[in-house]
């Protein structure tokens, strides 16, 4: 795995979305989920997406992942137009880990490589080193049913890194966890991110989480989802829990809160 120099402010555009719209269904019961979204993300950035429930955040992420096709508009990731899944460039994570229950943790991590026919000698060491990265080296041979929710999501993080993607798309990956675990997972994710410097797009309901993790926060409107504004989070890294209490953090949080319509 290649370590990226810390060129976080780098300007190489890795995600580009132009005039993206999405309509589910057709005719009388059609539903406009996204309307005219344009955005761009530079390589290595950690961006978060917040917005009211049902505004199309998950839809946007699925379109970025090539798992849902847009009604109009274009998406490019790392120079390639996205028309279907690009497993070697993009990996996704959801609220649930979707680990295969009959495979052990390490077998789940190496599963994407197995699908590509990678030999054991290559995939197993890589999977083990990623499990170590997420602190699960002692649980490599456990089955998902024997792991806690947080541990399952750690396995999912390891699995999402195994193909060395350029972009990680995460849809509320820690939403099902208790608050303490969520905070800890957020910090661990930041550590992993700082080590590998992949670009991350992270959807969340939590404004605090959104600001704490991000370089940029994208705020979306209620359905049909549009990008209302992009906020630059100028807190230094590494982030610490204390920053959540500081004034700049609170101000930003309030602005986003009002923008979404928290009143």
């Amino acid at each position: 795995m290649n370590h990226r120099p810390t060129a976080r402010a780098g300007s190489v555009e890795i995600i580009k979305v132009e005039r993206l719209s999405k309509q589910y269904g057709s005719g009388a019961n059609s539903l406009r989920a996204l309307s005219d979204i344009s955005l761009s993300v530079s390589e290595g950035q950690f961006v978060t997406v917040v917005g009211p429930s049902g505004c199309g955040k998950s839809t946007l992420l699925l379109i970025l992942a090539g798992l849902v096709s847009p009604s109009s508009g274009d998406v490019w990731i790392d120079g390639a137009a996205v028309t279907g899944p690009l497993p070697e460039k993009i990996s996704v994570m959801f609220q649930e880990a979707w680990l295969l229950p009959w495979k052990t943790a390490v077998e789940n991590v190496e599963f994407p490589l197995m699908l590509r026919g990678a030999p054991f000698a290559i995939r197993r060491p890589r999977a083990l080193s990623l499990l170590q990265l997420v602190g699960l080296e002692g649980f490599a041979n456990r089955y998902p049913g024997e792991l806690s929710g947080g541990m399952k999501q750690r396995v999912a993080i390891a699995r999402s890194l195994v193909q060395e993607p350029r972009v990680l798309l995460m849809d509320e990956p820690f939403a099902a966890l208790d608050e303490q675990t969520r905070t800890r997972m957020g910090n661990e994710l930041l550590q992993v991110w700082e080590k590998f410097g992949r670009t991350v797009v992270f959807v969340t309901h939590g404004l605090t989480e959104a600001i704490y993790l991000a370089d940029f926060v994208f705020v979306m409107s209620a359905r049909p989802g549009r990008i209302l504004e992009r906020f630059h989070v100028e807190l230094p890294r590494p982030r610490t829990i204390e920053m959540i209490g500081n004034e700049a953090f609170g101000r930003l949080r309030n602005r986003i809160w009002h923008l979404i319509g928290g009143a």
């Binding site: 899944p85 070697e88 979707w98 229950p101 994407p112």
Partner: protein, 254 residues
């Protein structure tokens, strides 16, 4: 281990006691020899004519094995594909349920015309008897899997075939095995039944042939053979089940 040996001994003792009482009742003249054959009569029937029953046994085992192979393959493959394609599932699920409710034995005469009196018609009838419940169980099993698994697999780069057979089929395995149990039982019934109706060999033929000659010993032997095949098949299924659930059910918490 000791508990198991003791349990085995208890069962064996009970079995021998049962056989002994049966034999004693027969010798005492309490049982009609046309209706009940004593254990000794059955053994005599078995060794008579140079173990000819083994040939019949072999034919039936061959037919059942072939029918199982075909019904399992077709049933599982069709069920997995149809379960993953909503349109195909919507069309075929009601059709499969309807076919399962039919008394399929009515088509056996047609199969006889097409495939003759030999083993082929038995294999085909056995396959038809078992394939539909296997297909339907597999289909509904695959359908009930959360879409999240398929979405995740697609994102990881799995192609259609890999999603179906490396993700969906194993996830549906509990339902598939339930279907296999039902379908396989129906195959054994279908094969023996079709042999009894019209054939030239096999256990079913053996039973109906000797019944018409009032060879009660041979008839009982045939029944015991048919039962032993069922028990064998069930043992194989339990083995398949255990292979999958090695390590206990809690792994299947989804």
């Amino acid at each position: 281990m000791i508990v198991r040996i003791r349990r085995l001994l208890v069962r064996l003792t009970l079995f021998l006691a049962f056989v002994g009482c049966w034999e004693a009742a027969y010798r005492a003249g309490l049982l009609n020899p046309i209706i009940f054959a004593a254990p000794s009569v059955i053994v005599k029937a078995a060794v008579k004519d140079g173990w000819t029953f083994l040939a019949a046994f072999r034919v039936t085992v061959l037919e059942i094995t072939m029918a199982i192979l075909m019904a399992w393959c077709f049933g599982i493959i069709f069920g997995v594909i149809a379960g993953s394609l909503p349109i195909l599932a919507r069309i075929s699920a009601p059709m499969l349920s309807a076919v399962i409710a039919l008394p399929l034995v009515v088509i056996y005469p047609v199969l006889l015309v097409w495939f003759g009196l030999g083993v082929t018609s038995k294999i085909v009838f056995g396959t038809i008897s078992g394939v539909f419940p296997i297909a339907l169980n597999t289909l509904t099993g695959v359908q009930s899997i959360d879409h999240g698994f398929a979405t995740m697999a697609r994102a990881m780069g799995a192609n259609r075939r890999q999603i179906m057979f490396r993700v969906m089929a194993p996830l549906a395995l509990p339902a598939i095995i339930a279907g296999l149990r039902l379908g396989t039982a129906l195959i054994v019934i279908g094969v023996v039944l079709s042999e009894m109706l019209a054939s030239t060999d096999g256990i079913g033929f053996w039973i109906s042939y000797h019944r018409s000659l009032f060879n009660t010993g041979q008839v009982y032997l045939g029944i015991i053979l048919a039962l032993s095949i069922t028990i064998l098949v069930n043992m194989i299924l339990s083995f398949v089940e255990r292979m999958h659930f090695r390590g206990g059910d809690e792994r299947f918490v989804r």
